[in-house]
């Protein structure tokens, strides 16, 4: 993985010193509240319902075991012993004291980590495919491009005070696992008809209050021009993005109000001015970063192992886990292994200090010392030899991370909701828990098959409800928690926004409502091979709506 050189290290160290001084001045009354707020947000620090919350960047989702151990140390030392993986490849700590945050940032810097630009109206953490570098359907490894772009965006002097936050995702595979179409800029690395590498550029996607699928701004952008094109988009946005209304300030609104064609024209005009500037990537720049992502030393004989087949035959629970939690690897004899953070009785995405320590040890033992976090709030050991799958499963089961539910109904994407977040209208974790109990039976879940249930506690949409096959959105009605339901959303290649079923349902009825929807699907599907999403797209809203509202009491 990428290793900081002296420059990268110096920058994060200097950032810690800067923030330490800003915090000192704030506590001494020398820095106005609202200005400190904007400065601390750019270091990942929110002030939440009960305590400050610190959001730490995990660029493109990749962590070394050393970094994972440091996250465990931080959870144990400064927090209540756990952290929360977000839907944007970050980890959040919910209980640090404001005064301790400079020390936490210094600890992070000591393992080449930071919280720079994880919030605030600036360019946020770059997200990517959690199977980068190992996926069979990948054109090239997207992570070097993410790292190059991360450096470009870090403390960018022109773009630190944008109209609103700005998120960029990069994907290089046939199947989009990075939800690129719902980002401010979505980058697909592609090859053109001449065999040259480059990018298809999407702009103006986003979730939140006004969910929009990004529009294609350019079919093919040459490989060397990634930064100049992004700079052109950002410059147009910084100049023209709305600042009069926070709800209309994202680039998606500018693209929509300007019109995609006109917006593309403005970007192209700006880009023409800077495409041959210093921003042009050289092969040497690319190679320098690419060498950090060279393949680990795979065992050429890994596929010869026979113990795996024997373990599969002997242990049905292990076999069931391999069916859901393994993904194909491009190297024979290896698998990418998902550790599920969606266990019964645990808030989706939560992981405690002991688990973090254990994950670090397992990464060292079985996956070349690295682990990835996914935007679906799980972990991936990306390079596990088949002989190690059984011992890894046993170890994960021992720490509660072997729930065999990846991609199933209980693999819920969920924001912290009312339990932690000061923006939220309604509980999300408690609802996730109820759904988990309702559908805990794995045979039933397997029968339901691949489905994405996404839940947000408010319309800011951190739980990506708009792109859930089933989306649940918490709303506040006169102090009571109600839930709006959408069907048919997707963040993959066929990206779409969910359609609202109708009136929202009450807290008491939401689990029943999900069950009604699932029963409708089971009754309507052609066969077991037709997924919930495909079925919904074929039969439409009517049967789902009928059954949903026949049984639960909707809000009048």
């Amino acid at each position: 993985m990428y290793q900081y050189d002296e420059y990268d290290q110096k920058l994060v160290d200097e950032r810690v010193a800067q923030f330490r001084d800003q915090t000192r001045r704030y506590l001494a009354g020398e820095l106005p509240d609202d200005e400190y707020r904007m400065l601390r947000l750019r270091n990942g620090l929110y002030v939440q319902r009960f305590a400050p919350m610190l959001r730490v960047a995990i660029p493109y989702g990749l962590l070394s075991s050393k970094q994972v151990r440091m996250l465990g140390h931080i959870a144990r030392t400064y927090d209540k012993g756990y952290g929360h993986l977000t839907t944007r490849q970050n980890i959040q700590f919910n209980w640090p004291t404001l005064e301790s945050v400079p020390d936490i940032l210094a600890d992070l810097a000591s393992v080449q980590m930071h919280a720079i630009q994880t919030s605030g109206n600036c360019i946020r953490n770059f997200t990517s495919d959690h199977l980068a570098g190992v996926a069979a359907d990948e054109l090239v490894d997207p992570r070097p491009y993410c790292e190059i772009a991360r450096q470009w965006a870090t403390l960018h002097p022109e773009f630190n005070w944008l109209p609103r936050k700005f998120k960029i995702a990069i994907s290089a595979s046939t199947t989009d696992r990075a939800a690129t179409r719902v980002h401010d800029i979505g980058v697909h690395i592609v090859r053109n008809e001449h065999g040259e590498l480059g990018y298809t550029m999407y702009v103006g996607g986003g979730l939140g209050r006004t969910p929009i699928i990004g529009v294609k701004l350019r079919d093919f952008l040459p490989e060397a021009d990634l930064l100049s094109y992004c700079e052109a988009v950002l410059r147009v946005y910084n100049r023209l993005g709305r600042r009069d209304n926070i709800y209309k300030a994202r680039i998606k609104i500018l693209v929509k109000e300007t019109g995609p064609a006109k917006f593309a024209e403005m970007v192209e005009a700006e880009w023409a001015q800077i495409k041959d500037s210093y921003l042009k990537l050289t092969q040497a720049d690319l190679d320098r970063v690419k060498q950090h992502f060279s393949q680990p030393r795979y065992d050429a004989a890994a596929a010869d192992d026979s113990s795996y087949a024997a373990q599969l035959a002997a242990h049905p629970a292990f076999a069931a886990w391999t069916r859901r939690n393994l993904k194909a690897h491009r190297v024979p004899g290896y698998s990418a292994v998902f550790a599920s953070l969606k266990a019964k009785g645990v808030a989706p995405g939560d992981i405690d200090a002991a688990q973090l320590d254990a994950v670090a040890d397992l990464a060292d033992r079985y996956s070349f010392g690295e682990v990835r976090v996914t935007h679906t709030q799980n972990l991936v050991f990306a390079d596990v030899a088949q002989k190690d799958l059984y011992p890894l499963w046993q170890a994960l089961a021992g720490i509660g991370l072997a729930t065999p539910n990846i991609g199933l109904l209980t693999d819920v994407i969920c924001c912290p909701g009312l339990d932690f977040c000061s923006l939220s209208n309604a509980s999300s974790i408690a609802v996730a828990e109820e759904i988990f109990e309702r559908f805990e039976n794995l045979d039933d879940q397997h029968d339901i098959g691949d489905i994405k249930l996404n839940m947000s506690g408010c319309m800011n949409g951190c739980g990506h409800h708009s792109v859930g096959h089933i989306g649940i959105l918490g709303v506040d009605k006169k102090g009571e928690e109600w839930y709006q339901i959408t069907l048919g959303g997707s963040s993959s290649n066929d990206a779409s926004l969910g359609d609202r079923t109708g009136p929202s349902v009450s807290r008491a009825d939401i689990a029943d409502a999900v069950q009604n929807l699932i029963e409708t699907y089971l009754a309507e599907r052609h066969s077991e091979d037709e997924s919930f999403l495909d079925c919904y797209r074929r039969v439409g809203m009517a049967p789902f709506k009928t059954r949903l509202y026949a049984k639960v009491e909707a809000e009048a």
């Binding site: 050189d5 420059y7 990268d8 110096k10 920058l11 200097e14 950032r15 010193a17 800067q18 800003q22 820095l31 609202d34 200005e35 904007m38 400065l39 109206n121 450096q151 470009w152 870090t154 403390l155 960018h156 002097p157 022109e158 773009f159 630190n160 005070w161 944008l162 410059r235 910084n238 100049r239 600042r243 001015q273 210093y278 050289t282 040497a284 720049d285 320098r288």
Partner: protein
């Protein structure tokens, strides 16, 4: 109350006076006028023979107004609110694309130690500090980061060029 001006990396007396749109030209001294006054009275102001800078609102497209202002000895760009970063883009265009060599001045609510480093990088050469700012601390803040990732309007050598060397 006089504003503290940083220029050429030191505290200097402000030799310009910002002239209200309805005020008559004073007898002496360098002046800054609003862009709208510059547009309306350009001929007369030029004929006065005075040294006149122009203050540009952050909503103006710099490329569009360049012919009218390129020969001014001073251009002031405004930060009307702490988080409003539009003038950063205006400054880079002036300093980098259009090679403006006059005094490029930052004014307004963001001209504080916590943003001045970005301003220097984007090409500003003088700073009307917001009231209450400690000029020594502002000067020190310019050097808070020793190496930038990006090339910009200042002449700091960015990381990627150092790595190529």
């Amino acid at each position: 109350m006089s504003t503290i001006l940083l220029r050429n990396l030191r505290v200097e007396a402000d030799d310009y006076t910002l002239l209200a749109d309805d005020a008559a030209l004073p007898a002496t001294g360098k002046l800054i006028v609003s862009y709208s006054r510059w547009q309306a009275e350009r001929e007369a102001l030029l004929a006065s023979g005075r040294v006149i800078g122009v203050k540009i609102p952050n909503t103006i497209d710099i490329a569009g107004v360049l012919p009218e202002i390129a020969d001014r000895p001073l251009i002031a760009l405004d930060f009307p609110a702490f988080p409003d970063g539009r003038a950063y883009s205006q400054a880079r265009l002036l300093a980098e694309r259009f090679a403006y060599k006059g005094e490029l001045r930052a004014t307004g609510k963001a001209v504080v130690r916590d943003q001045i480093g970005f301003m220097v990088r984007c090409g500003f050469t003088s700073f009307e500090l917001r009231e209450g700012q400690d000029p020594a601390a502002c000067l020190a803040a310019i050097h808070e980061f020793s190496v930038p990732y990006q090339q910009a309007a200042d002449h700091a050598q960015p990381v990627f060029l150092r790595r190529r060397a």
